[in-house]
């Protein structure tokens, strides 16, 4: 992939309105890989005072979208399995990371982790499958 294509893909990938709603920072975009982070705010809590599962899932899902779309082809998620392993609180900085494990034709398998930046504790782990369409989202 040439530098110009890479930059064009990165520009689209970083323009995710939902990532902005959650104040997610994109830390790394590479082929088949994405890393993002966010700091938990009071509005991300559930009634237990812990981070809402939907927020943790979303952070991982944003990293997954980066990894899945990193080749410039439109990717759509088919299935995601998540296990929540540890609770987090307001002020915690969480890191979401997605790695491509397999890519066979249009089907890709990804491993997603959400970790606590402070102590590297594993907060949630997912396995996700996506379908990659033939069309490119950056044009020719």
């Amino acid at each position: 992939m040439d530098e110009k294509t890479k930059l064009a893909i990165e520009k689209v990938i970083k323009n995710d309105p939902f990532a902005d709603l959650l104040n997610v920072t994109v830390e790394e975009v590479s082929v088949g890989y994405g890393r993002v982070s966010m700091t938990i705010e009071p509005e991300h809590q559930n009634f237990h005072g812990m981070t809402h599962g939907g927020v943790i899932f979303s952070l991982g899902d944003i990293a997954f979208a980066i990894a899945g779309n990193s080749r410039g082809k439109t990717a759509v998620a088919l299935n995601v399995d998540i296990s929540f392993l540890q609770a987090t609180q307001v002020g915690d900085k969480l890191v979401g990371e997605a790695k491509e494990i397999s890519l066979n034709g249009p089907i890709g398998l990804y491993e997603i982790t959400v970790t606590n930046h402070h102590n590297q504790d594993l907060i949630a782990k997912s396995q996700a499958v996506l379908y990659r369409k033939k069309d490119s989202f950056i044009g020719d």
């Binding site: 689209v12 709603l21 509005e43 009634f47 809402h52 899902d61 759509v76 299935n79 296990s83």
Partner: protein, 139 residues
């Protein structure tokens, strides 16, 4: 266990969850002893790079209905694991309805299925999760 208790639990949960529910635009529609219905409309700040509703938010909506259905019997709990199947994309301005139904409930865990549909009654996502009961009461 009756639906008036479920209503009280629902009111209390919404009161405490006010911030996250307004961030994601979630509205609790109804609750019974083992069901919860939550709705949202896809806003411009909820879409992904392809213009569809972000998968993370669809999950969050289903997870919310799941949690409320599991807690409707006045037993607090947390999500242990969940699986989501995305069947159809949701688009800007779509009205999404998540219906959570507890399938099995034991002493320490409960399992629950959630279907997320759009305003045309098409299935957007299918969610299944396991809830761990923390032995606290909501009200």
């Amino acid at each position: 266990m009756n639906s008036s208790l479920a209503n009280k639990v629902g009111e209390r949960l919404c009161e405490i969850d006010q911030k996250i529910m307004s961030l994601f635009g979630f509205e609790l529609v109804s609750m019974t002893a083992d069901t919860a219905v939550v709705q949202m409309t896809v806003r411009p700040d909820m879409v992904n790079i392809h213009g569809y509703c972000h998968g993370g938010l669809v999950f969050a909506l289903a997870d919310h209905a799941f949690a409320y259905a599991c807690m409707a019997s006045n037993q607090a709990g947390v999500t242990l694991s969940a699986n989501v199947i995305y069947s159809n994309p949701a688009k800007l301005d779509d009205r999404l309805t998540a219906v959570g139904q507890v399938t099995t409930a034991g002493g320490r865990t409960a399992s629950c299925q959630v279907l997320v549909r759009n305003q045309k009654d098409e299935i957007v996502a299918q969610y299944q999760g396991v809830n761990y009961r923390t032995k606290q009461q909501i009200v």
